[in-house]
Structure formats: C-alpha cells, structure tokens
Symmetry: C2
Subunit: 230 residues, 2 copies
C-alpha cells in the first residue's frame, strides 16, 4: 500500500491519535503522518472534520474518516491482509467493543481526574475509579487473552490499542501522584501486557517518553490531562 | 430463530433499550422481552451487566451482550439472513458509525439539556445544540440516504435506529418547550424520515405514546430526560 493513499493527521502527545498509527503498523500499511499544531490547526483538518475539528483524522483515497476507534475499525475492515484487530468470533468481538467503550467512556475520565483534582475527595474518587477500572481490566485480560500475550491474542488487537494508547498518560499520572497504578503485585497481567505492548515493533517508536509528556502536560493541561481527547 | 435463544432486558421508556428490539424486528428474529423495573432491577440484570448494571442487555445462547449500539452491531453480524443494518461499503459504514457516535455523545446531551434547564442561558445553549445538530443530520440524510427513505437506504439501518430511538423523547421535549424541532420547513428530510420511521412495522409497536412518555418524564426525571441512558 503506497504511503500516498493513507494520511494520518495527529499530534505526538495525543493518545487517541496514536491508535490509527498503531493499527496501520500492525497491518503493515505505509502512511504519511501530518503533525498538527493544535494551537493553529491546518486547513486540511478543518475541512476533513468540520463537526469536531479534532484529531485524529485518517484520509484514505482523499476521503476523511474521523474518531479514533471508528478509524481503527475501518483500518481493520479495509486492510484485510494483515492480522485482524477485532476478533473473528462475534461474541468476542462484542466483548472487545464493550471494554473499549468502557475505557473511553468511564476509565479515561478517572485517569483524567487524577491529574488536577480540586479537592482531596475528588482525588480519592478519581484514584478509586482508576484502580477499580484497572482491576476489572486485569480480570478481563485473563479471560480475553486466553493465556496469550495480548487482549488480541498473539498480536496486538483492538482492545490493546484502545487501552495501550493511554499508557503514556498513565505513566504521567503515576509520576504526578507517586503511585504505581499498574504493578507486578496488584495487576500482574496488565504489568506484563504493558511491557510487551510498549516494546512491540508497531508501538515502540510512537509511545512518547514519560518525561517529555510530563513536561507537555504541565505546560498545556491546567484543566487536566484530557483536553486533547477524541 | 426460536424466541428462547434471544432475550432482551429493557424498559418501555428507554430509547436505547428500543434499539436492539428494532434491530431484531428488522432482521425478523423472534425474541423474548423482559421489562425491567428500574427501581428494583432483576438478578439477571445484575448478573449480566455487572459493570454498568444498566439496560439494554441482550442474552443470546445464555451469553450477555451490553451497550445498545454494540448489541445492534452484534445482531447485524450474527443474523445475516435479514437486511443489513450497517452499509456494506466500508467508507459508508465508517460514516454511519461517525454520526451514531455524534448522536450519542453530543446531540443527545443537548436534547437532555432542553428538558430541565436551570437558567435561560442553559436553555438557549441546549436548544441551539439540539437544532444545530438536527441541521447537520438533515444535511447528512441527503448524502447518506441517496434519495431513499432511510439513512439505511430502502430499509431501516444502524443510523436510523440510533437517531430514531430518541424520537419519543424529542416529542416530549417539543411538548415541554412548545417548539417543533423537526418540521417540514426547517428539516424536511428528517420530517419525512421521522414519519416513515415511526410507522415502519419494525418500530410502530415499540414507540411510546408521547402523552404517556411525558407523564413518565415528569414523574421520574427531575434531573432531566436522560437518567436512564445506556
């Protein structure tokens, strides 16, 4: 697949913009990447996503696709020669979609909430949401991975991409709070999974360094970690 | 398909619980329906959706599937003998998913916000969000339906089900505000579509009467229309 056919508009700091790039890497599809300055977005971005005016956007054969998980599903359906991202078993596919929605709709807001809590109570609630969510995902990993390395089995799949894209900001949240949310004792499955995910060839060059991401977060997110979500 | 294979847990007042039922009707699949008392939910509900403890839930061959749009996609993938709910063209499929996500994540909160605004400013913002969203969907209908009766073409599809399930509460919101949000002048495409949708055999026995729904809303939703969402 020639690079000119596929273009991704994103930003190195954006977890959700990492998703289509990982998916394309897993599928072994070349693409062109356009780094957006989010303080001065490109004409192409406004034209391609007039409803949300947000990254990530994938442009495929001159047509835009928006919303990270919709893009990942589109990539899975269009580039069928690479490994499947969603399970072929339909019940397992619904289960992967369920946990992906859980991560974006519920777990992420707890991760976000740990960054800049206004009160001790807010901080405690966010940490409780974050850790209880990780406990659920730890248990889900056991069932879904069936003893293999990833939620997707032998290779990175839809749910790996959904959760894994937040690992950079999870590390930032760990640094800010001085706590380890994923560790060998509480979440041994996720601990091993996170290591494998970050060192996978489809991910390792995309995962931002925690130190750089922390600097960025401190400079840009006075309201919390999540200003760039979607 | 025997009714015993498929069971839906829902409530007559819930827009999102209507979605799997419409999808099964379009596919001509029999199912058993269990009306949940949301003040005293069943054991089966808690067991089947321990994460959210919410309707709708579909139980298929003793396995639960949760989240309305995930259930609708599952129904589309499992029961392939009926009409397709999602477009077969992959770009059109991504487009249907985009607008469905827009409706649930953005447009719905405006609909919800019109019900019990705390200030005139809040009311104006909600009405602006609701009507500008409908203007976008009016334009989208023209492109997506390609001159046919539904977003899904000749028959009701994924996006019809997503938006159409909110028509009952849209009428409640219209009654409460004394405004017509969908009408022949501002949104002629959606006006015709809403009529066709509500009189379709797969929908008409499921769409609650506005008067009954209004009574229910006044009794139950002091905080707004959306307490039962998901």
């Amino acid at each position: 697949m020639a690079a000119s056919d596929v273009k991704i508009l994103g930003a190195w700091t954006s977890p959700v913009a990492m998703r289509p790039r990982i998916a394309l890497n897993v599928k072994n599809v070349d693409y062109e990447f356009q780094e957006e300055n989010l303080d001065s977005k490109s004409e192409l971005l406004f034209k391609s996503n007039p409803v949300y005016k947000k990254i990530p956007i994938m442009i495929h054969n001159d047509k835009p696709i928006c919303e990270s998980l919709i893009i990942v599903q589109y990539i899975d359906e269009v580039f069928t020669s690479g490994p499947s991202l969603l399970p072929s078993d339909l019940y397992e596919r619904a289960t992967a979609r369920f946990w992906a929605t859980y991560i974006d709709d519920k777990w992420f807001s707890a991760l976000f909430g740990t960054a800049n809590p206004k009160t001790d109570q807010e901080k405690a609630t966010a940490i409780e949401g974050l850790t209880s969510g990780l406990a659920l995902l730890e248990e889900a990993f056991e069932k879904i991975s069936k003893g293999k390395g990833f939620f997707g089995g032998e290779t990175i799949g839809y749910l790996d991409i959904t959760l894994g894209s937040f690992l950079g900001f999870l590390r930032v949240a760990e640094t800010l709070s001085g706590m380890n949310y994923i560790d060998e004792t509480k979440t041994p499955n996720l601990h091993g999974w996170a290591k494998r995910f970050c060192s996978d060839p489809s991910v390792k060059d995309l995962m931002p360094e925690t130190k750089k991401l922390l600097e960025f977060a401190k400079m840009h997110f006075s309201g919390g970690l999540g200003a760039q979500r979607k």
